[in-house]
Amino acid sequence: MSKRIVAAALMAAALLAGCGDDKNDAPATDARGLPSPIRIATEGAYPPFNYFDPSGKVIGLDIDIVEEMCRRLEAKCEITPQNWDGIIPGLQAGKYDAIIAGMSITDERRQAVAFTQGYATTPGYFVTLKDNPLQQVVIEPPRLNLNEIDPAEQAALDKLKTALKGKTVGVQQATIHANFLEKYLGDSVSIRRYDTQENLALDLASNRIDAGLADIIAWKPFLESQPGQNAKTFGPGLDGDVFGQGMGIALRKEDTKLLEAFNGALTAMKQDGTLKRLSEARAGFDASMP
């Protein structure tokens, strides 16, 4: 009797295990060659980009951007929350067609997936105490992209350098912000390195350093805390070059039509200021990139 049971169990197991290398049927596509619906994964644990509100709905800047993009493309989109571990393998396994999850564009990830142009970035900011004379220095424009530096940007960079000359600037060690200080201001400021952002903020609050440099997202908890009430950002928000290429929407490499469509929509949303408007409304700062 047990022989027959085992044989049946084995057959069931064989069916379940199956073979993994089969070709999947392509999902439904519309006339433009775009998948319909476009299934988009996000993580849901990275505010303000993607997170759950207490009613269990996934919200955030990433979601705002996707909704606006899909509206412009007149495409039907579905958002699926997906754990960060395995979010790229899931894309390759065809569980969804795109990932928008505050994912930084890196060369390592580019080997596995294609990225749209950067749709958002978290600019680096200097923060000083409010009574620091540096706060009197006005530097325009408010955002500085270091990829292609035009004369106005060069002037702003020079002004920043002059203002910070001889000052002590704190930064978390082994970060892109430390790289920025070394590359652009290494000969004019004295750099103090910290193991954590918290220790950097503590020393700033107790006036042991003139300024600190970090990501706006990293500053937020400090600026919203009690000791942070005396502190304020100073100078322009920095991105580009050592700060990386921002966050992109990840796609399978072969989905070139979807990549083209997404890039087109993002370009239009950058040009008419929609990205800036969406990010200021959701995150409280301008996350858009040129």
């Binding site: 085992v6 073979c19 089969d22 049927d25 207490p54 009613s55 754990n83 899931g90």
Partner: protein, 235 residues
């Protein structure tokens, strides 16, 4: 701080509780699947046929020797392909998605079954052979002897071990959070991400897991007492 746990759309209480409910549902389903697989496995291990023994040995050796997380990944990424392939054999075209619940129950149940198989095998062997021989001598049919003599006594020996397997199964369900099933671990992760209060929410989750295990411990103790009725313990 506690208002973070309020019920309704303003707090995470209902989400966390629903997550805990899902954890219990997955754990119970997986454990029952595990008992079924484990019984098959134990029968295979005790069978005379070499094929059955080999298959059962392979099952417990492989599954107990591979991390549960890895089995979940294999089913999560390979599962859809496999089911689609089977569906196509039956003439269905298109893609079949396996949902996270099915993947989770199958994965955790498979692991749970491998441990249950060993527990049940040991319990069956602990029943003195004279018991079944006596049943046969009394003229019981094999099924009646199985139901009246073997199963009750096997349970008596197996319950403490199965209680252990149940606890492992309950805790293994947390691994399914990687497949984005909205169970307790996943919901605490999401809540801590949204509120930036990881310690608070993971402590709440730990407390809920502890409540579940302590509660089920009591249930298993009662079941053991019931299975041991009629057996006097030496003072």
């Amino acid at each position: 701080m506690l208002d973070l746990l309020s019920y309704g759309d303003g707090g995470w209480g209902d989400e966390i509780l629903r997550g805990a409910g899902m954890t219990i549902l997955v754990a119970v389903t997986s454990f029952l699947l595990g008992i079924a697989l484990g019984s098959l496995g134990a029968a295979g291990k005790l069978a005379r046929g070499r094929l059955a023994r080999g298959a059962a040995d392979a099952y417990t050796t492989i599954v107990r020797g591979v991390p549960a997380l890895l089995i979940i990944w294999l089913l999560f990424f390979g599962g859809s392909g496999a089911v689609t392939w089977v569906a196509q054999l039956f003439g269905f075209s298109g893609r079949v998605e396996v949902d996270a619940f099915a993947v989770g129950v199958l994965a955790v149940g498979t692991v749970s079954g491998a441990y249950s198989a060993e527990v049940l095998r040991g319990a069956v062997l602990a029943v003195p052979p004279g018991q079944m021989e006596a049943a046969k001598a009394l003229g019981m049919s094999p099924f009646l002897a199985f139901r009246r003599v073997l199963v009750p006594q096997t349970l008596r020996y197996a319950l403490p071990g199965l209680g252990n397997v149940w606890q492992l199964t309950l805790k293994d369900t947390s691994l399914i959070s990687v497949a984005s099933l909205a169970e307790l671990m996943r919901m605490s992760h999401l809540a801590s991400g949204a509120t930036r209060q990881p310690f608070f929410f993971f402590a709440v989750a730990a407390l809920l897991y502890l409540l579940m295990t302590v509660g089920s411990n009591a249930a298993f103790r009662r079941a053991e007492a019931h299975a041991n009725r009629g057996v006097r313990r030496a003072a």
